[in-house]
Homo-oligomer: 715 residues x 2
C-alpha cells in the first residue's frame, strides 16, 4: 500500500522547526509530543540546536536513521530544494503546507510543476501543497497542531482547513464520534483523492469517509475508486463552488477547477456516494453511516409527542424520497392499547400526551413499531430527553431507562433509530446515553430527518447495486476498422469532424438504424435518388466548410415532385455559394422525410473532470429553454439508459399522451447504449450530436448526426 | 382593540384549578405566582377551598369582581357549560386548552360549533381550543406553565405547542432575544390569525411576528392583514404540511385544511411575508428582522478567514438571490494595504492568515467594506470568536475589541452584520458581545446566510412595495348588465356554465378581443358565415350537454372550401349524435383559424383557503406534463401580471427564439388583468378557462373559452 509509509509514518522530520510558539514548526512538534506520537520526531533547522528538548538537525541529510515523512513548513520557493534533500535521504513522503502554488496563477503553477517533477524523480509522494496538514488519530500523529481531535472511525478528506476544523469541532462538541484520519488534500499536486480513498477502503480503523471537495483533478479515477469503495464503506461528500461566485472563491483557494455540475452530482450518486448539500448535515450523515445499519426497505416510522415536529418531519422525509408507510393493523392495535384515545397510530405516531407522566411508554412504542416488518427505521421527534427539564426532574430517570432500552433495540433488530430533541442543546444525560448506543441526537428536525434519510439512501444504493456501473472504459475494444477508416479519412483531410453521411455511416456500422442518405452531386442524381426512396424527401448540403447547414440555406424539406427537387437543389447551391463562396461543396444529401414522432436529442462531450459524458433530452425548444435534459458519465449500463429516459420531466410524453401514441422507448434505450459503445470504441471522438432524433411508435429516425474529433490524437 | 382585554387581561380565572402538581390547573397558577403576574388570579374548583395560598371559588359566578379572561383547563365536553358561566359573569375572553374538537372528526366539530355559538351569544372571544395557551411576557402573564420564557420583541403565533417550545428554548439557549407574546392559535375556532396580526401590528412591545402555521381558516383576510402589517413590522412564517403525509399529520392535529401550495407561497410573499422552509431558520430570521435594519440594495460582502466557508456562503447566498458584488477599486486597495499578499479582496474577501496573530484586522476590514457604498450588509464566516481558543488565549481580548467596534459600526451605518463562527457552540465571550450589539451569530453557515438573506429579502420587498397589492375585491363594481344577463340566462336554464359563444361574448364586452364566432344552425348557414370570415375556419359543436367538444368529435379545423365546410358540418352532427344521442344541440360555431403564435392558457378557480386565484402557463403538452405554470391570488396588479409572464420557465420563448418572433406580451398582460377584472365583476364565476390562447406577434386569439358558475349563488 503505497500511502502507508506516509499516513502511518513511523518517523517524521519537521523541516522549518521553530522555537517561536506562533509557528507551525513549533506547534506541530509540541502537539506530537503532547499527544505522545509513538514514532520518532526530527526537528530540522540550521539555526537551532535543540527544540522542545529534541535534537535539531541542520539538514535532513544529517539525520542518521531512515525518515518516513517530512513535514515541510518552509515557504513555497524553498520547497524544490527541500525535496532534493529529502530525496537524497530516501524520504517516502512529504506534507507541503505552504500556499503560493497552482492556486495563485501561472508562476505558482510552474513552481508546483517543479515540485512534482522533483518528487517524482526521487519517488516521494506529496500531500498538498496548500494544505493544513494531516492527522493519523490512532497513531497520535497530528501534523496540524489542532488540539483534542476526537478519535473514531471516520476518515476526513478536506480541501479546506477551516471546514476540517468545523467538522472536528462539531464532532467534539455534539457527538461521541471521531476520526481515524484527517488529510488536508490541498492542491492535489501529487496524491489525488482516489488514492486516499483506496487507502481508507483498506484501512481497518476507518468505517466511513467524509469529504469536503471544491475541485477535483481526476474525476474519472475518483468515480472508479468511489464505486469500488462505497459497496464496503459509505462515502459522504459535500462539493461546494456551485455558483459562479462560489467558483471564484474556490478557484483562488484550491487552484482546481471547481463547480458541481449536473454531471458530477449524478455521477457521484451513481458511484454510491451520499452527496450532501447543507454543511450542517455533513458530519451528522457521516456519524450515522459510520455506526448504524442502513435501512433496507426505505421505510421509516415517525414517533412524536406533538403535532408540529411530526408534520415537519413528514414533509422533509417525503422530500428525501423516504416512505412513511401506514403501520400494519396489528401494530396499530398494540399501540392503541398503551396510548390515550387522542393518539394517532397510523404513522406519524403522535402519543398525544401519553408519555407526559411516564416517558417509558416511548420505549414500548419504539419496540412495537420496530417489530412491524414494514418499518425499516425509526425517527423520534419532540421533547424526549427534556421530560426531566420540562415536566418533573424525576422523569429523567425514566428517560434514561428508555435510552438503554432503545439502544438495545437497535443492536438486536439492526434497524436504526435517530432522535430529534429540542432539549439537545441543554445536553441532558438521557441523550448522552442514546449516543452511547450509536443513536444520533439532533436539535434540528431537518438534520435528524436527513440523518435517517441518508441511512435509507445508502440502503437503497446497496439493494440496487449494479456491478456494471464501474466507470471503466474498454477503449477501442469494439472499434470497427471501417469506422476507424472514416475517422482516418477526416484526419487526412485535416477535418476535425465527420460529414453528416460519414457520421451516419459510422452509426449504421454499429447497428444504429440511421437513414441511408445518399449523396447527389447533380440535380439529376438528386431526382433519381429521391425516386428510389419514394415519398417526401429532404435535401441537405454536404460541405466540410459548412457546419450549420440551415443557417447557410442548405436544407430543404418536404419535397415531393421531381420539379420541386430540382428547384430545391439549385436553390441550395445558389444559397450556399452566397453564404460561403469558396466552400468545398461535396454535394447534397437526399434523405427520406422522417415519420411523425417525438423529437429528442442525444449529445456526448468530454467533461473537464470526468471525461466522456452523455446528455439526453427532449428536442426543440424544450431543451434550449427548459433545459429538460439529463446527464451520465459514460459508459452507461442498460439500467442507466432506462433511468435517463424515465427521469427527464417530459418523460410521460413518451408513454403516450393525449392522443400522441406511446413511442419506442426500447429503441431509444438501445440508441443510448450504442452511443456509449461508439464513444468507447473511438477515443478520437470529442463530441457527438444526434439532433434531432425522431422516436416513432416503432423505431426511430436519426435526422441529423454530427461527430467532432479531438484537436490532436490522444487516448 | 378587541383583543386587548384578553391578551392584556388584568384578571384571570383558572377554571379547573388543581392542587395536583402534574395538572395544568396547578402549573399555571404556580407560574403566574412565580413570575409575579400583576393582575388578579382566581382559582375555580368546587372541590377546593384554597390553592397555592389563593382563595378558590366553586364557580366563576362566585367571584365578586370583574374577570377579563378565563383559562379553561377542563375536558372538552364541559366547555359549553363553562362558557355559559363565563358569559353570565361578563368574562371578555377564554383560552380553551382541551383537545377533542374539530381536529378529531365530526362529533368534535359539532362540539366546537356549540362552543363558538355559546361564546358569540355572550360576546366572549376564544383562543383555541386545542392550544397550549397564551403568554404575555411583559405582563408576566404566562398561562402555559413554561418556565424562563425570555422577554423581547418577537410575537410568536404557533399552531403547535411543541414548535413554540422549540422556538422558546432556542431563543433562551442560543440568542439574547425573546418574546413579547406567545399565542397557541389552536383550532382558530373564534379568533383567527389575521386578528392576532392586527393586534401585534399595533402592539408597542412587538417588532416582528413569528408564525408556525399548519392550516388557516381565513386565507384571504390573513393576506389582507399581513399586507397591511409587513410594511410596518416583518412577519416570518413557516407553513408545514406540504406532503400528503405531512397533511395527514397536521390534519389530525389542528383540524384545519393543511398544505402549502404554490398559491399560498406566492401569495404570502406578495404580502411581504418572509416564508421559511427550514425550521432551523425560523427563529434566526425573526431574531435578525426584529433588531437589524433591512438591506436596501440586496448586496452583501462575505468576509472570511479561510476558503471553505466563503465558498459555501457564496453558493448559498447565490441560491437566495442575494448579490455578492465585486468591491470597488478604492475598497480593494484599502484592503490590500492591511492584508497579506495571498489575501483575496474582490468578494468574498479571504484574509488568508492576515488575522491569525491580530484579529483586530477583522474590524478594520469590516469598516472598509461597509464604507463601500455598493455593500449593503456584511456576512463574516469562519473562526472569529475562537481565535482565543484555537491560537492563543490572549487573542480573545482582541476579539472582544473587534466585537465592540463592529457593534458600533452597525449602529452608525445602519448596515447589518451577521456572523458565522464554528466556535459558536463553545459560547466564547466575544460572540456574546456581538449579540449584545444585535449582531446574530450562528454555527451553521447556511443559517447565517439565510439570516442575512432575509434582511436582503425584506429590503427588496420594502423597496419594491406596491400599494395596490391589497388582496381586496371590489365585488361587482365593474360588472356590466349585459354580461350579468348572460349569466342569468344560463342560471335560468339550470346550467352551471356558459356556452362557448356566451363566454366569448362576455369577454368581448370587457374589451377582450375574443373572436366573434357565429352560431350556424345548418350547413348552409355555416358555409355563409365562413365566406364572410374568409380564409380557413374551424367548426365547433355548441351544446349544453357536451363540455368536451373534441372527445365528442365536435371539432373540425383548417376548413377551406365550401365542400369541406358542409362535409365537416354533417360529420360533426353525426358524430355528436353517436356520442350523446339526447344532447340538446344548439348548432355549430364557425370561427376563423387562429393565426400562428405561441399557445398559452389562463385559468381561474376558487382556492379553498384564498378564494379566487389565477393560473397562467404555456399551453399544450407543456402545462400538462411540465407544470410550467404560475399562480396568483386575485385581484392582480399590472406589476403582478408582468411578473407572471416573466417567471414561468418557458418565458424566454415569448421574447422571440430561434426564428420564432417575439410575441405580444403587452396584449398578454392586458388579458391577465382583464381576467382579474371579470372574476371581480361576477361573483357567480367559479372557474374560467381560456385554453388555448394563441399569442401572436401583434395581438392574441382566444381559441376556446369556458366559464363555470358556482353551484349556488354566493357572494
Amino acid at each position: 500500500m503505497s500511502l502507508n509509509a506516509i499516513l502511518n509514518a513511523e518517523s517524521v522530520a519537521v523541516i522549518g522547526a521553530s522555537k517561536n510558539e506562533t509557528k507551525r514548526g513549533y506547534q506541530t512538534i509540541r502537539t506530537l509530543l503532547d499527544h505522545k506520537y509513538e514514532g520518532t520526531i526530527y526537528p530540522v533547522n540550521p539555526k537551532e540546536k535543540r527544540i522542545l528538548g529534541l535534537t535539531c538537525y541542520a539538514r535532513i541529510s544529517d539525520i542518521e536513521d531512515d525518515v518516513d515523512l517530512a513535514l515541510v513548513a518552509t515557504p513555497a520557493h524553498t520547497v524544490p530544494s527541500v525535496l532534493e534533500d529529502c530525496g537524497n535521504e530516501g524520504v517516502s513522503g512529504a506534507v507541503i503546507l505552504a500556499g503560493g502554488f497552482g492556486e495563485t496563477g501561472e508562476d505558482g503553477k510552474n513552481l508546483e510543476d517543479r515540485v512534482v517533477i522533483t518528487a517524482r524523480k526521487y519517488g516521494i509522494r506529496l500531500i498538498g501543497p496548500n494544505t493544513s496538514g494531516m492527522i493519523n488519530c490512532h497513531a497520535n500523529m497530528n501534523l496540524v497542531g489542532m488540539r483534542d481531535v476526537p478519535k473514531g472511525d471516520i476518515a476526513l478528506l478536506s480541501q479546506s482547513g477551516n471546514m476540517a476544523l468545523s467538522l472536528i469541532t462539531e464532532a467534539k462538541l455534539k457527538s461521541q464520534k471521531g476520526f481515524s484520519y484527517y488529510v488536508g488534500v490541498g492542491n492535489e499536486a501529487d496524491i489525488r483523492f482516489h488514492e486516499y480513498l483506496e487507502f481508507f477502503r483498506q484501512d481497518p480503523h476507518t468505517r466511513a469517509i467524509l469529504m469536503y471537495v471544491e475541485g477535483m483533478r481526476n474525476g474519472r479515477e475518483f468515480l472508479q475508486q468511489a464505486y469500488k469503495t462505497t459497496i464496503e464503506k459509505p462515502i459522504v461528500l459535500l462539493k461546494s463552488g456551485r455558483s459562479s461566485t462560489g467558483k471564484r472563491a474556490a478557484g483562488s483557494h484550491t487552484g482546481a477547477l471547481a463547480g458541481i455540475s449536473e454531471v458530477a452530482r449524478s455521477a457521484f450518486e451513481r458511484a454510491g456516494i451520499i452527496v450532501i448539500e447543507h454543511s450542517d448535515e455533513l458530519f451528522p450523515a457521516a456519524e450515522a453511516l459510520s455506526s448504524l445499519p442502513p435501512i433496507k426497505n426505505n421505510k421509516v416510522a415517525i414517533l412524536a409527542d406533538g403535532g408540529g415536529h411530526a408534520t415537519i418531519a413528514a414533509d422533509v422525509l417525503t422530500d428525501l424520497e423516504v416512505d412513511i408507510p401506514e403501520l400494519g393493523a396489528a401494530t396499530q392495535t398494540k399501540l392503541r392499547e398503551i396510548l390515550p384515545a387522542a393518539a394517532t397510530v397510523r404513522n406519524p405516531i403522535d402519543v398525544a400526551g401519553g408519555t407526559d407522566s411516564d416517558p417509558t411508554i416511548f420505549a414500548d412504542c419504539a419496540r412495537i413499531i420496530l417489530q412491524d416488518p414494514n418499518v425499516g427505521g425509526l425517527l423520534m421527534v419532540g421533547l424526549f430527553g427534556g421530560y426531566g427539564i420540562r415536566f418533573a426532574e424525576s422523569l429523567a430517570m425514566a428517560e434514561e431507562d428508555v435510552a438503554h432500552q432503545m439502544g438495545k433495540m437497535v443492536r438486536a433488530r439492526r434497524k436504526p433509530i435517530v432522535v430529534h430533541s429540542l432539549f439537545n442543546s441543554e445536553k441532558p444525560h438521557p441523550l448522552s446515553l442514546l449516543r452511547y448506543y450509536n443513536i444520533p441526537v439532533h436539535d434540528s428536525v431537518e438534520v435528524a430527518c436527513k440523518t435517517i434519510g441518508v441511512l435509507a439512501q445508502y440502503g437503497r444504493y446497496l439493494t440496487s447495486y449494479h456491478a456494471k456501473t464501474n466507470f471503466v472504459f474498454n477503449w477501442a475494444a469494439k472499434a470497427k476498422s471501417d469506422c476507424s477508416a472514416i475517422i482516418a479519412k477526416a484526419r487526412s483531410e485535416n477535418r476535425r469532424y465527420l460529414l453528416e453521411h460519414e457520421a451516419k455511416r459510422l452509426l449504421r456500422m454499429h447497428d444504429v438504424s440511421a437513414h441511408q442518405d445518399e449523396l447527389a452531386r447533380t440535380a439529376d442524381e438528386a431526382a433519381e435518388i429521391a425516386e428510389q426512396i419514394g415519398g417526401e424527401v429532404v435535401l441537405k448540403i454536404v460541405s466540410p466548410d459548412i457546419l450549420h447547414k440551415s443557417d447557410a440555406g442548405g436544407v430543404k424539406v418536404r419535397l415531393k415532385t421531381e420539379t420541386e427537387i430540382r428547384k430545391a437543389f439549385k436553390e441550395i447551391m445558389a444559397s450556399v455559394q452566397r453564404y460561403r463562396p469558396l466552400a468545398d461543396i461535396r454535394g447534397v444529401l437526399v434523405a427520406p422525410m422522417a415519420r411523425e414522432g417525438i423529437e429528442v436529442i442525444i449529445g456526448t462531450k468530454l467533461d473537464d473532470q470526468f471525461g466522456p459524458v452523455i446528455m439526453y433530452g427532449l428536442g426543440g425548444v424544450m431543451v434550449e429553454i427548459l433545459k429538460d435534459v439529463t446527464f451520465r458519465v459514460l459508459p452507461i449500463s442498460p439500467n442507466s439508459a432506462k433511468k435517463m429516459i424515465d427521469e427527464i420531466k417530459a418523460a410521460p410524453l413518451l408513454n403516450g399522451f393525449r392522443g400522441i401514441p406511446a413511442c419506442d422507448k426500447k429503441a431509444m434505450r438501445r440508441l443510448l447504449l450504442k452511443c456509449s459503445e461508439i464513444v468507447e470504441s473511438y477515443p478520437d471522438i470529442e463530441e457527438m450530436d444526434l439532433n434531432p432524433v425522431i422516436v416513432h411508435e416503432k423505431g426511430l429516425s436519426i435526422v441529423d448526426a454530427r461527430i467532432i474529433l479531438k484537436s490532436k490524437k490522444c487516448g
